[in-house]
Symmetry: C2
């Protein structure tokens, strides 16, 4: 059985590598886990011993097949628990993440299966994030919108779902059209602001709502 710490390391490697199997930097992992970088180095070496990750010193870390399996399992638990908390217990959107963060490590597969059935086998959680299947398949629409995608990664706009003339005009004028490259520099949930960075253009701030209308995919 993987410990809580191990499950968290693997989950965050998965999250930071955006579903693909890209190298994740030690610094990013330390940041995500709220530990100092030295701790990550130590821990990652132990995980590599156990063949859960591959560690390339001074470069980064990525999941092995075994590590990915564990990480997807944890993510599935996290997102199903969130769905349960919101849809069955009617909990507040803002509170569920912290709850799920603890419950994801305590819930067994058999409880999870029943929860899944109770919820009608949902494919996305209340935030719209995809729920990995029981077989460990993560529906590919990994970062649906500028409101939910990871920060800092190169993305390409796929679709703009809001169809009002006003918004479409604005988007067109700002170069936010399908195929355009973009990355999210910052996302402030409190202020409800998403800051975009584009090559050769000034930074652009969007409301979270507007960001949610713009579907993106990884640029490469």
């Amino acid at each position: 059985m993987a410990s809580v710490a191990v499950e968290n390391y693997l989950k965050h490697v998965l999250l930071l590598s955006a579903g693909q199997n890209e190298l994740v930097s030690m610094g990013a992992l330390a940041e995500a886990l709220s530990v100092v970088p030295g701790t990550v180095t130590t821990m990652v070496k132990a995980l590599a011993q156990d063949r859960l990750v591959v560690h390339t010193p001074r470069q980064g870390v990525k999941l092995t097949a075994a590590g990915r399996r564990v990480a997807l399992g944890v993510l599935r638990k996290h997102r199903l628990v969130e769905t349960f908390l919101v849809h069955v217990l009617k909990m507040d959107w803002s509170a569920v993440h912290a709850e799920a963060e603890r419950l994801e490590h305590a819930i067994s597969d058999s409880v999870l299966d029943r929860l899944d059935a109770l919820l009608g086998h949902p494919t996305t959680d209340p935030h719209g994030d995809p729920i990995p299947s029981r077989q460990g398949k993560l529906p590919s629409q990994v970062y649906a919108t500028l409101a939910t995608c990871p920060l800092g990664r190169p993305l390409r706009i796929v679709r703009v779902t809001e169809q009002t003339a006003e918004f479409l005009q604005f988007a067109e004028h700002q170069g936010l059209r399908p195929g355009a490259p973009v990355r999210v520099a910052d996302r402030n949930l409190t202020a409800g602001l998403v800051t975009l960075r584009r090559r050769g253009r000034p930074a652009l701030a969007l409301s979270l709502a507007a960001a949610g209308w713009i579907l993106v995919e990884p640029a490469r």
Copy 2:
């Protein structure tokens, strides 16, 4: 925040002291927690430092008011979770204890409150064990029947709930009538057998079902 280990120590002290605040022996605690006695001594001294228990060397431990509060909270979580697993997720009676054993440490008070409401504020769990109230009151019917009471303690029979003539005759013949002193020497869930010890009488084995029909209370 009390760690998982601390919560377990306190919960088991509560359980072994049978709701009253009797001294619990280090050996019994070690047994219940599946650790060696030396570990219990070490840990109990730390808990005493934190004013969660009172430790009388070579005698035993008992809970302080603060410790009891924590222990009742954990027990409430355990029993509400069990109730949820059985009544909502339709899980098997035999599996829920192990599940609850982990979930009781991961669930927050706010989730618990909603679960409690969802279940209609039950007062006992599926085994009939009383669920401590939110205010930390444990309904006094602590060990309801010979099927659920703690082992080895002096008890007095309060009531026999099964009213078939056949069973009442058997009980009467064996001296199992209200007021009679008794203690449970052993309980084997797998075999479904409860072994009774009475002064001046031979040991008596009962089925778990029959044991469940006999209500008892602490003898003194």
